[in-house]
Assembly symmetry: C2
């Protein structure tokens, strides 16, 4: 699918209609505004292949778990993101014939996503069996300024005759989920209304549905205006469907336009009885404001996002389009306005993988929001986990352990996942939660976060590691057995280097944080110390674990051994795998993958990335040289980390090659599964590959200096093909503008006080 | 449930009716004859809790696989043993009231299984709401002499008034499977007939159903006779149900008896069009023969089985009843008359665990049949696997491997199981297939089996090990990574000692067999050598693997380490587990079980049992002392092996204690799951614990002698509580009768030529 979409700096353009690629294009053309999202489905009836998708943030259905063989501790349900009321729908009938691009001949077709202003436009001309031709232009957006508002404008022009036209704006809640485990319908009817207004030749509709079991209400209200006075309007109200049927006559070449205004609310934000009313108010307000005003507000909001968050690449349109698509989708998915929300692996673009939150958020997405948006947004991502701390404690308790274990997959803090080797064993995720706090505090210097929220989480995670590791007297070492590391092509291994290392890092950070808070906030600290029942003895235990943790290490190779026994494997490289065997997970049985040396995604290297400070370039190079040739990158989260390390150790070409593997992952349907939805969380990795990789941005200790505060360091290079690239960074109240070209590196301060940074290792004041 | 059934040498007696225990009792009271089986369900309508169960050997339904997360290589279906036509049913109405023990008051009740003659008898008196009292005696058997025949006699006596009686013998195919993955109905209607004979006041019924997808036909035909002339008979024929409704009048205290004769056939044995006809013929023949003759044939067959296969224990009725129940059920489940059949884990007693064959057959069941029945029966168990060799080759190929991998669970040779850690990794099962050949040949001296069938299987398994192991140049050893050993409380481990050891044993046996056959059958051998494409180089590779296989070993402890890293675990003993945590699999999450040192079932010890010759008593004792305290025996297959080793190393009390854990497992519902069906395959372990354990029976090398033939050795002891025990052994054409009492060990030859044996280490001629 390399050239499916036209190359353009700000747009994704599908220039012709290919029914077989429709689901793929629908995913790409998805819109979202943090509160809700819709796939690029057609407004009018389409009887061809399509995955209808409307998703409302934070609304889920607890779908009964399906497993082959039950294990103690598995969750009862998997939180699925339900396909919700289709609110964009506008059916069309012309002279009694239904407009349906699966049945009409498509004469021309163009679907384009405008990333700069955040709207989707589709235009086509089509001819019916009876020879009737029409031109349609449909444009829509979900407002970034008014989260509960969306608008669709639908223009139709008969091309070769006068027509009797029916336009049928509707709200349809008789929808299903393809990904339902047992084919259940997730929604039940709650309220519906449809009415017409004789006087204004207008009408409205309202549909309020309730999820079964979880009792979420999602209310949608529609208002509309017409470019022309209709002959008649009728209203239909069913329990899960409402419409207005508008009868018009249009002359040949006369354009008729319907503008549909939508209010969409949930009882996550209002009392049950108020939810529906609020949707109606939103729709009404939107109609009053009108398309122009709404769109202006919306595109201004996008303009603000791009102003700070864009990465501009000169000389490589494919790379430019790729990175913008990633930044665009990330900002559509999560806006940080609601700390109860998080970043689903498919955002608002598909049903798969249900639950909203994976360790992806902390390990990959946080740096993006931290450096491109206000601090509040990253802080909200942290607070999400803070609010789930009690659930994480329950989760650890289920496994018979002290402290807290954050879930692998969750919507509300409860674990949803049901594979023992992941759910129970992929515990390294716990370290990422703490690492995110560290990252946030280092980049924002909001030390107060630690005393208000951070320490509680850090302590609970430290206690988990304290209990989960055990002391092995035979080897005089602490060990962590039976885990799955980031490389999920190993299951139930002993002493995964990354996990052991990050566990110790958590303990170190816990001790550092405690020492720091004791000095800085002595009174509040004493209270927390008591509340958390901390003791000198416990801290002593942590120190002992730090001192005597066991790390698998192959001395003769200078390589951190991914886990005990890794080097006993048949040590091949990816180049030795027959091409037809790739991707391995689609061709090899699981045992074969497991006993092979092939690495799914950065594991030891993930640790070297996180704890970059602790390892010298030689160590990084030795480990990269060993692991990269054995890594199949069958997770979309993998190449970015390898790219960053490659950049750091001077493998610039490799860094660029690895970057390319993710930048256009969805646009080129690299994994052949974009039809299910976009790979939202890995998009942040693409950003990281440029900012942390190519530009080499990190925080460094001020060597030999007393000052605690770290210094921002940049060591940029530019890929050969590029003329320049530029991005901005929000850091300590400054906005820094970084521009890199082959001849020059410019760092400018757009906002805030002067700042000392390291540029290519040299101190400079910006 | 310790005292639920009365103690008796030959009977299992339930003396009162407990609706809450009905499923449990139904399992215990199951009947089978190798061709078919039925649970101890009531003949007449019962609206209380019950698990209706009729099962036909070899008939299965390919039930769509259910998994949470699909892995490449998983089977599409799990072969379920479908609940088949209920053919024992006789509904009863008295004065228009339906007899139903859930609704009537049960005044007395007795259900007893007679193991000596192989029948089930149930008698009760009950009173209806209207005060009507009846006495019923129902007796039934499935003929061991005519496999396709069963008979039910049903006597009813009104106790306190004259009654209008309706007796309704029926065949009901409108049945369901509780264990269906997706609630599917497995059967579709094919043929049904019901007719009455005016002249003889009789009638008949016939029902032939077809399984969906797998197209098995199961035809049931019924004939009957009455003790009294009826007033009228009507017939009802539906697509999946037929009956005769017999109207009678009975005076108070007048007994009325219906005898129902059944023919049950499948298209496994006949052409489709002939299957139904044969069922009708069987039923007709049975009626002609009459109850007395049929029962006499049947009980004679049982008498023959007991004559050779009984174990007689004096002084311990509970132990006597327990071992007889095990022997009885094993003989009901598998009779060896059909080499296409095998031994299901629940036999004909429940639906759970679907597929018929596990490694239990070779590792546990074979010795029982080998020593208590004609050689043909054990040979048929071997031929079952021989016939599936091509499927086993396909199975290995699915995993990308050479040779053959026998399935974990199968009905027709195809793998049914769907947990990667078992399906793909519990590959030690392959060794058990070869070990069974070895066992068979050693005990029968049918060396010809090797050239006709054995070598093909042995070679295919050897090649599997050849490919599955890899050479590790860093350690100069062959290794087998990513396996699950017999102890399923470890998954995906490296170098499971048992697996590595048995793999090498397979290679050794392959080389020995090849050498032997080359000498004994030079011509046939040359042909096989060519057909199998064997080469000197391949044999050399096997020798190298034998020489350089890696075995984890803890030198300082003298213990074979269960797998790499086992000794890194927290080494606790079972006595340290809080009682409320047991059984672990019901209380601990899987990760906790996996990283603990606790052993589900004999693993290293299983190897020491199989390869007993190769290890001295000290080694056995050291390993037993290490592993037994860490073994939770949460598989019913575990205690027998530990018991045998305990007996061998002189831990007699321990051996007895471990024996007791299985002998009455089902009768006392130890695992609290007997309601699902009996633990058929582990029953053979109970037999092994007495014969191989208490009596110490094994084959030993003739030290220092040229002769190849091994010598039968016995080293009996008797548990303190017992006065004596005795059993017979079929060995090399002899029947040996072994009797052990505290004062005396007697070995008598009942049949065949004199034989030299070792008794307590001393040579004797019997």
């Amino acid at each position: 699918m390399k050239d499916y979409f036209e190359l353009a700096d700000w747009k994704i353009i599908e220039g012709e209609f290919n029914p077989g690629d429709n689901r793929f294009a629908e995913s790409i053309m998805s819109l979202g505004n943090g509160h809700m999202g819709i796939r690029g489905n057609f407004e009018e009836q389409y009887s061809g292949d399509s995955l209808p998708g409307t998703y409302i943030a934070g609304v889920y259905y607890p779908d009964k778990t399906v497993v082959g063989w039950w294990k103690v501790g598995y969750p009862e349900y998997y939180a699925k993101v339900p396909n919700a009321t289709n609110f964009i729908g506008i059916d069309v009938a012309i002279n009694g014939e239904e407009l349906d691009l699966a049945l009409w001949e498509v004469l021309s077709f163009r679907r384009e996503l405008d990333m700069k202003q955040g709207y989707l436009e589709r235009s086509f001309t089509a001819e019916s069996n009876s020879g009737l031709q029409v031109a349609v232009t449909a444009r829509r957006f979900l407002s970034m300024a008014r989260r509960e508002v969306g608008a669709v404008s639908y223009s139709l022009t008969p091309l070769n005759q006068k027509i009797e036209l029916e336009l049928i704006p509707y709200l349809d809640g008789a929808i299903t989920n393809e990904d339902a485990n047992f084919g259940e319908i997730f929604w039940e009817a709650f309220q519906s209304e449809a009415e017409t207004e004789e006087k204004n030749y207008s009408g409205r509709g309202y549909l309020n549905l309730r999820t079964k079991k979880s009792d979420f209400l999602v209310a949608a209200a529609m208002e509309y205006e017409l470019s022309k006075e209709p002959e008649e309007i009728t209203a239909l109200r069913e329990k899960k469907y409402v419409n207005n049927r508008i009868f018009l006559t249009a002359e040949a070449e006369e354009e008729v336009k319907l503008t549909k205004y939508l209010g969409v609310t949930t009882n996550r934000d209002y009392q049950d009885e108020e939810t529906g009313n609020q949707a109606k108010i939103r729709a009404k307000e939107a109609k009053q404001a009108g398309w122009q005003k709404l769109f202006a507000e919306h595109s201004r909001a996008w303009s603000d996002i791009w102003e700070e968050g864009d990465i501009i690449i000169e000389g490589d349109t494919a790379a430019q389009q790729g990175i913008r698509f990633n930044i665009f989708q990330l900002n559509q998915t999560y806006t940080g306005h609601d700390p109860r929300l998080n970043i689903g692996p498919k955002g608002f673009t598909g049903e798969k993988y249900g639950g909203a939150t994976y360790w992806d958020t902390e390990a990959y997405c946080l740096p993006f929001y931290l450096n491109t948006r206000d601090n509040e947004i990253a802080r909200n991502l942290l607070l999400y986990r803070y609010r789930h701390l009690d659930k994480a404690r329950e989760n650890a308790d289920k496994l018979g352990l002290e402290g807290a274990l954050y879930p692998m997959v969750t919507m509300n803090g409860e674990e949803c996942h049901n594979e023992w080797e992941i759910t129970f064993e992929e515990i390294h995720r716990n370290a990422a939660i703490v690492y995110a706090i560290y990252n946030f505090v280092e980049y924002t210097e909001e030390k107060k976060y630690l005393i208000d929220y951070g320490l509680e989480v850090i302590t609970a995670v430290a206690r988990f590691w304290e209990d989960r590791a055990h002391f092995n007297p035979r080897k005089n070492k602490y060990m962590i057995l039976g885990v799955t590391g980031p490389n999920e092509y190993e299951n139930n291994v002993h002493n995964n280097w990354y996990t052991n290392r990050m566990a110790v890092w958590c303990l170190e950070y816990a001790l550092d944080t405690i020492a720091f808070l004791k000095d800085e906030y002595p009174q509040r600290f004493q209270q927390i110390w008591n509340d958390l029942n901390l003791s000198a003895g416990e801290l002593e235990k942590w120190r002992d674990m730090i001192d005597r943790m066991y790390y698998p290490y192959a001395e003769e190779l200078g390589v951190f051994e991914q886990q005990d026994g890794y080097l006993d494997k048949e040590l091949k490289t990816v180049s030795e795998i027959p091409e037809e065997d790739l991707p391995l997970h689609q061709n090899w049985s699981w045992d074969r993958i497991l006993r092979s040396c092939f690495v799914k995604q950065a594991d030891v290297l993930q640790g070297l990335y996180f704890l970059s400070d602790c390892y010298d370039l030689t160590t990084k190079k030795t480990n990269f040289d060993f692991y990269e040739p054995r890594t199949v990158h069958e997770s979309s989260l993998s190449p970015c980390i390898h790219s960053i390390i490659a950049a750091e150790i001077g493998y610039q070409e490799k860094a660029y090659e690895l970057y390319l593997r993710t930048a256009r992952l969805d646009l080129e349907n690299v994994n052949n599964d974009t039809e299910d939805g976009l790979h939202i969380t890995s998009m942040a990795g693409t950003w990281m590959a440029i900012v942390h990789g190519f530009a080499g941005m990190k925080l460094e200790e001020r060597a030999g200096e007393e000052e605690q505060q770290k210094i921002l360091s940049l060591t940029p290079f530019i890929p050969e093909k590029w003329k320049s690239y530029a991005f901005k960074i929000n850091y300590l109240g400054r906005i820094l503008n970084i521009e890199v070209s082959p001849s020059e590196i410019r760092v400018e301060r757009e906002k805030g006080e002067p700042l000392e940074i390291l540029l290519q290792g040299e101190k400079q004041v910006v």
